[in-house]
């Protein structure tokens, strides 16, 4: 039977603040276990939380970027459950009154635009993590460095109808939080993580079917696979006349299957209640406005502007604006060398190739926008050919040398554009290939390329190709 697939996503983003959400400890990743801790984040008796206002700034940013309403007075609540990585026996989160509500995000799948509702965004603290020493059985240690690191959870409406839509939504959301500078978006390391609620229903059925929750999907690819697996699992159950039960399932990345984590009867009763240690978070218009002013241009808007202002194809603009730093780089080059098309091509072909090979981000690129603009200038005024340009580019990149003019000079790479000098060489080639000239003149026009190649070979590629073309045309017709 055919069913409608209904998907809602809950996304946790670890925020890029310097300090934790309720204490002054560093959020720096990779320190020795329990180094980034204090009485507050280890839940010592009597220690009290104090809200880091930067976290509120970041949550408002995410809310504004997804067209949410910002709650004037939101409330922190305690989510109570026992686990060794949770030092206080409760997680400080938000429940009844989250900081942002009623937003949306537009996605596009198969050229179909669609709006996905965002129910809420709330702030909360992360837990620590358990460490199981190798070769030692029955012992666990706890590292609280991550305890109290700030998170926002972004909860969507059950508006997605396919795994492709879910992935499109997730990608769009990730672009936004990375663009906003609130999260590094790293799915493998878990700083951007996603749980999916999935249910099926007969077409036209008014109520949603019973949902299962999927956890532990650490890449876009796995989100897609896990959802598809779950859809099939539920479809099989329904087709056989069974009933889907509410449960939480864990995706097994290696085996490509999901397994039961806990059923409904094992579901926690979190006993949420307002945290009496924290006051309501009062956000006035002025605060919202201040954050709004500081928002960067978002990917979709920036892409549209780049297409309009620089007349480059939409597909290219999308590539260039997928990463905020890349878009900044592109615009910096265009400012110095106002030929957007050439700049776009060089960035997308050469620059991205080198960066991808080295797996580094454009912020670590050894060639500065000024260096690339100067190089494009040398090509533009015919000092060097495009081909030589690639050589110079490679040299600039490997030596972190941003003076292409000097490289061209030092290595004698300047283009040969003296008509007299070139004419002599062209004549030499014609004389040495008498037979081929005859063939050409009798209609083997393909041989024109041979002559150009010969001239280029003779001049080590430095001959001005346009001049060579016109000289050859002149002499052999």
């Amino acid at each position: 039977m055919d069913y409608e697939i209904v998907i809602g996503l809950e996304v946790h983003c670890q925020l890029l603040t310097q300090t934790k959400i309720f204490c002054g400890c560093s959020t720096h990743f990779g320190n020795p276990p329990n180094q980034n801790t204090c009485p507050v984040c280890t839940g010592m008796p009597g220690a009290l939380p104090v809200l880091n206002r930067k976290v509120v700034d970041f949550a408002i940013r995410a809310g504004l970027a997804t067209d949410c309403q910002i709650t004037p007075s939101s409330v922190f609540a305690r989510k109570n459950y026992f686990y060794p990585d949770l030092p206080k026996g409760y997680q400080i989160s938000q429940f009844e009154l989250p900081i942002c509500v009623d937003g949306h995000l537009d996605i596009e799948v198969d050229n179909q635009k669609k709006r996905i509702g965002i129910t809420r965004i709330h702030m909360e603290e992360d837990a620590g993590k358990l460490v199981h020493p190798e070769h030692v059985h029955g012992v666990s240690y706890v590292d609280y460095n991550r305890a109290c690191v700030p998170l926002i959870e972004i909860v969507s409406e059950p508006d997605m109808r396919s795994s492709a839509e879910a992935v499109a939504y997730l990608k769009a959301l990730r672009d936004i939080v990375v663009y906003l500078g609130v999260c590094d978006g790293n799915m493998e390391e878990g700083s951007f993580r996603c749980d999916a609620n999935i249910s099926l229903r007969r077409w036209g059925a008014p109520e949603l079917g019973t949902r299962a929750e999927l956890k532990n999907m650490n890449s876009f690819r796995n989100v897609q696979r896990a959802i598809e697996y779950e859809v099939e699992r539920q479809r099989d159950i329904l087709d056989e006349g069974g009933r889907v039960v509410q449960e939480t399932r864990l995706w097994d990345v290696d085996r490509g299957v999901s397994a039961l984590m806990r059923g409904k009867e094992e579901a926690h009763d979190y006993r949420y209640f307002p945290d009496p240690d924290l006051l309501p978070v009062v956000v006035d218009e002025a605060w919202v406005e201040k954050v709004r002013q500081s928002l960067p241009e978002l990917p979709v808007a920036r892409c549209q502007r780049i297409v309009a202002d620089f007349a480059i194809p939409v597909a290219d603009a999308e590539v260039l604006t997928a990463d905020r730093a890349m878009a900044d780089y592109f615009e910096a080059v265009v400012k110095l060398f106002p030929q957007p098309k050439a700049a776009a091509n060089w960035i997308m072909v050469e620059l991205m190739k080198f960066l991808n090979e080295d797996k580094i981000s454009v912020t670590q690129c050894p060639i500065t926008p000024q260096g690339l603009a100067d190089l494009l200038g040398l090509i533009g005024d015919n000092t060097i050919s495009g081909k030589i340009g690639k050589q110079v580019f490679s040299k600039m990149y490997s030596a972190a040398d941003n003076d292409p003019r000097q490289i061209v000079e030092d290595q004698g790479l300047a283009q040969m554009s003296d008509a007299g000098e070139l004419a002599v060489i062209v004549d030499e080639i014609i004389d040495a290939n008498d037979d081929k000239v005859k063939d050409y003149q009798q209609g083997k026009v393909k041989l024109f390329g041979f002559f150009v190649g010969q001239v280029m070979k003779k001049t080590k590629g430095q001959a001005n190709p346009q001049m060579v073309n016109s000289l050859l045309k002149e002499k052999i017709g």
């Binding site: 009485p39 280890t42 839940g43 010592m44 008796p45 009597g46 220690a47 009290l48 939380p49 104090v50 809200l51 305690r78 109570n80 026992f82 060794p84 030092p87 206080k88 026996g89 409760y90 706890v142 009763d269 006993r271 949420y272 209640f273 009496p276 240690d277 924290l278 006051l279």
Partner: protein, 491 residues
């Protein structure tokens, strides 16, 4: 008179004049501890060595002419839920038997910076849950006026120490009456400041929205002096309020002519001991002779206060005490089979009966399906109770009432009847729900020689008025300064 029998105020003046040294005062207090604490059992941990070193440092400070405060060189005791570096902080619980904090509570830091001498840690009901100090996992503190009776609770160690002069003053904490009720039982002054007046940082939480630290002293002036040292804004406690701290002590003598005193009729209802009632009524008349006017007022939601309190306080406690899980510090049950069993056994063995009872009550009140009927409803009633006070305070400056319906009861009298124990806080609980400042001042004795307390309640952050009224009353009371004889055998 022995130095330990002096008030903080008198010792401060003598220390400033150089008539006595802190070392002499401190030695005197430790002699007294050695003499009577075996009977009273107020202390859980005594730190004579540390105290003598602090006393010497305080004397040095005065010799060098450095800045001093009224508590510089004064021996003070601390309720054992205030975190102290170097001293165990057990909260009267087996769960924290060997727990030594790695940081000082905010009030302890303030005392240390002011040069106070810390004598040790005082007994209490486990995690401040109780009204008799019988719920301590360690010992039963006795009422210095009658060793067969309880000192009240939960700050029973703090009030018994002041009453038996084993500390010049102490700090307690008050969640539903835990300073005022034992102060009234022990015949000392005990004050609960406005919620937010004193930082809770480092106070081991029972019910966060109600807990407040306050002074326990032998006179009202001492309470004014000690409050000034511990009050004030603290960035580490989000609920601490950023308001200036007045000089309570200098303003005590300003007269109370024209002051309007309300007498809430609901506080004089059924169950009120006759002797307590007549003592309190007499106190009201005495205040009137000092120029204050008396008016009967009504706080109509008073009847709901105990139920409201036992829902909210237990709900918060169930969450606050979740951290005692055997994982990070404190007691861990041995021979547990796996994680869940470790939690179960640790908490079953580490907590006493009353704590377990309240954790279960609170867990229930917050559970899915019950939250609206219990927790949310209780929050709504709390608002109504607060509004009662707002309305009454529109027409008067302070309220006067009894602290507890009865004087101190005997050991074992109520311990098996939790409800009757809970009802002994019936007249103190509404103040915590509304976050108001209130004080218990001695206002006489029963025929059997048991102290009776007068409760004065003021508007939020009106501690100055509160202390002024209490001070004027204390001047008129003939028994001020009376000390227990500590005769008889301890049970």
């Amino acid at each position: 008179m022995e130095l330990y029998n002096f008030s903080l105020e008198e010792l401060w003046q003598r220390l400033e004049k150089g008539e006595v040294s802190s070392l002499e005062v401190t030695r005197s207090v430790f002699r007294r501890i050695a003499e009577v604490d075996n009977k009273v059992a107020a202390y859980l941990e005594i730190d004579e060595k540390g105290a003598l070193a602090q006393a010497e440092a305080a004397d040095e400070r005065r010799r060098k002419g450095e800045a001093t405060s009224p508590v510089t060189g004064i021996p003070l005791g601390l309720k054992d839920l205030l975190s102290t570096v170097g001293l165990k902080t057990t909260c009267g619980s087996r769960m924290l038997a060997d727990y030594r904090p790695e940081y000082d509570a905010a009030v302890v830091t303030r005392l240390r910076e002011a040069g106070a001498v810390i004598t040790g840690k005082l007994n209490m009901d486990e995690f401040a849950m109780g009204s008799s100090t019988e719920n301590s996992a360690y010992k039963a503190t006795r009422n210095p006026w009658d060793l067969k009776r309880v000192p009240g609770g939960s700050s029973g160690g703090s009030t018994a120490a002041v009453a038996s002069a084993t500390a010049i003053a102490t700090l307690g904490s008050d969640t539903g009456g835990s300073i005022r009720q034992p102060a009234s039982f022990c015949g000392v002054v005990g004050m609960k400041p406005t919620y937010g007046r004193v930082s809770r940082y480092g106070l081991v939480a029972f019910a966060s929205s109600l807990d407040q630290i306050g002074p326990v002293t032998s006179t009202v002036a001492d309470a004014a002096l000690l409050l000034k040292v511990i009050a004030g804004h603290d960035e580490r406690d989000s609920t601490s309020v950023n308001l200036p701290v007045p000089d309570y002590y200098s303003n005590l003598k300003n007269d109370i002519k024209g002051l309007k005193i309300g007498v809430p009729k609901e506080y004089f209802g059924a169950g009120l001991d006759v002797e307590v009632e007549s003592a309190v009524r007499l106190a009201c008349r005495q205040l009137a002779t000092a120029g204050a006017s008396l008016d009967d007022v009504s706080l109509p939601h008073t009847d709901y206060a105990v139920a409201t309190y036992y829902l909210l306080a237990t709900a918060e406690a169930s969450s606050n005490l979740a951290r005692y899980d055997g994982v990070k510090y404190g007691f861990r049950a041995e021979s547990a089979d796996g994680l869940v069993d470790m939690y179960r056994q640790t908490r079953a063995q580490g907590f006493g009966e009353e704590v377990k009872r309240r954790v279960m009550l609170g867990t229930y009140a917050l559970s899915a399906g019950y939250y609206d009927a219990y927790y949310r409803k209780a929050q709504q009633v709390r608002t109504l109770i607060t509004r009662d006070f707002d309305e009454v305070f529109a027409g008067c400056d302070v309220l006067v009432a009894p602290v507890c319906p009865t004087p101190a009861f005997a050991f074992g009298e109520k311990i098996d009847d939790p409800l009757s124990m809970y009802l002994s806080d019936i007249l103190t609980i509404p103040v915590n729900l509304a976050g108001l400042p209130a004080i218990s001042v001695p206002c006489g004795f029963t025929k059997n020689g048991l102290p009776i307390g007068l409760q004065i309640i003021a508007k939020p952050f009106a501690e100055e008025t509160l202390l002024r009224v209490a001070w004027h009353y204390e001047r008129m009371a003939e028994w001020a300064g009376r000390r227990p004889e500590l005769n008889g055998e301890a049970v």
